[in-house]
Symmetry: C2
């Protein structure tokens, strides 16, 4: 019986991937994952077998990877950021559970620096306090539920981090969420947008709730909307924890 180790490679540059994740790659015979993410680690893969994207969807790729592990290979499945946050960790378990226990490969999850942590570090300290993470992709989640979550998070004055805020084919979701947030949060609430955190093409913008949808946002962007205490000073976005200073 082989093993499948699901790792998060962090924001993309090797110095933000943990030694534990790195060791899992080094030990693997087979590397599986979305081709874009595999490129980030190309320099350390060597001539290992790759199960990349091609025309395959996530489920088929994942099934191939789990099968390779069941067949005795040592497989590493790569997610960007953290595999446990909108990544491949859940799907690998779901597919592994299709095997009887006696036939099932071992599954291990190794945490990574998630996109929201990476983006926050680039902006300053925008999270710091209670926060909610919401994906605006309605491919796998009913749009009504996503809107409801945005509304409730805004009512609770959570810092809100948006994953998958926009794609070429999905441009209106963020406008609807903007309308909802404007009902509950001040239009002056600081908003940070980060794309490709800590990679060469990193871009960051700090603006406010009223205006943020005018900025360039795509599926690789993370949007962080402050709470009522969040402030911006000298280009840095900070949510105070509440210490008296």
């Amino acid at each position: 019986m082989g093993k499948i180790t699901v790792i998060g490679i962090g924001p993309g540059n090797l110095d933000q991937m943990t030694p534990k994740a790195r060791a899992a790659i080094d030990a693997a015979d087979v590397v599986a994952g979305f081709t874009t993410y595999i490129k980030f680690i190309k320099s350390i893969i060597g001539d290992k077998e790759v199960i990349g994207t091609g025309m395959m969807q996530e489920v088929d790729r994942c099934r191939l990877a789990v099968k390779a592990a069941a067949d005795g290979r040592n497989v590493v499945m790569v997610s960007s950021g953290d595999a446990g946050i909108y990544g491949m960790a859940g799907l690998v378990y779901e597919i592994a559970f299709e095997y009887e226990v006696s036939e099932r490969p071992e599954v291990e999850i190794i945490a990574g620096i998630s996109a929201v942590n990476g983006a926050a570090a680039v902006l300053g300290a925008p999270l710091m306090h209670d926060f909610a993470v919401i994906s605006l992709s309605d491919r796998l989640t009913p749009w009504g539920l996503i809107k409801k979550r945005a509304m409730l998070a805004a009512q609770g004055d959570f810092v809100i981090a948006l994953y998958n805020p926009k794609s070429k084919s999905r441009v209106k979701n963020i406008e609807e969420i903007h309308d909802i947030l404007m009902q509950y949060k001040s239009p002056e609430t600081p908003v940070g947008i980060v794309r490709s955190a800590s990679r060469e093409d990193e871009r960051k913008v700090i603006t406010n709730l009223r205006d943020f949808t005018k900025e360039e946002i795509d599926m690789f962007s993370i949007v962080i909307i402050g709470n009522s205490k969040t402030f911006v000073k000298d280009g840095v976005m900070v949510t105070p924890r509440g210490y008296k200073i």
Copy 2:
């Protein structure tokens, strides 16, 4: 002018700290932080100067660290997990902002594996979807606001991660939150509790919403409460992303 770099060391074992954070420690003259966390990295500090806890509170320790940087030293401020999530990142900025720009040390934040990511990896894949992170410590946050956030997160069927769920002097908060969550989530909702994720004394329990407060929980525990789709199988807690498999 010196520099203060605020790093997250991850869950505590060195193989889950990023090379970037490690490099910041190596480059520093002075290491500041809560003594418990500094112990985790003792083997790599060497004979650098340490600004530890002693009897100092966070604010005083942070002030000393920022002053050392303003005086020209290269300081690294250590948080466990990620410094941007209930860590020292915000406070360092707030104190640095007390200095005029011309006197202010450079501040850099380096992301770490946050406690919630570390705990999730130990439990399986409990986050995976939209989630809310709430600290139950009411030292710096009004208790009414914390309860309101827990209620709204439960209404939104978020996966909910609780930081600081309980301490020796604060044992009732988690009971009140339990009562609130029971109003909106099924008593069978899976709940995972992890203490000292990926350290030698790691402990994990997977139980359900009805019963989880009977388990041993302390200030170093992370509690993750699933959404309505979360399931447990063969000792693993998984929240499906929604793929049709």
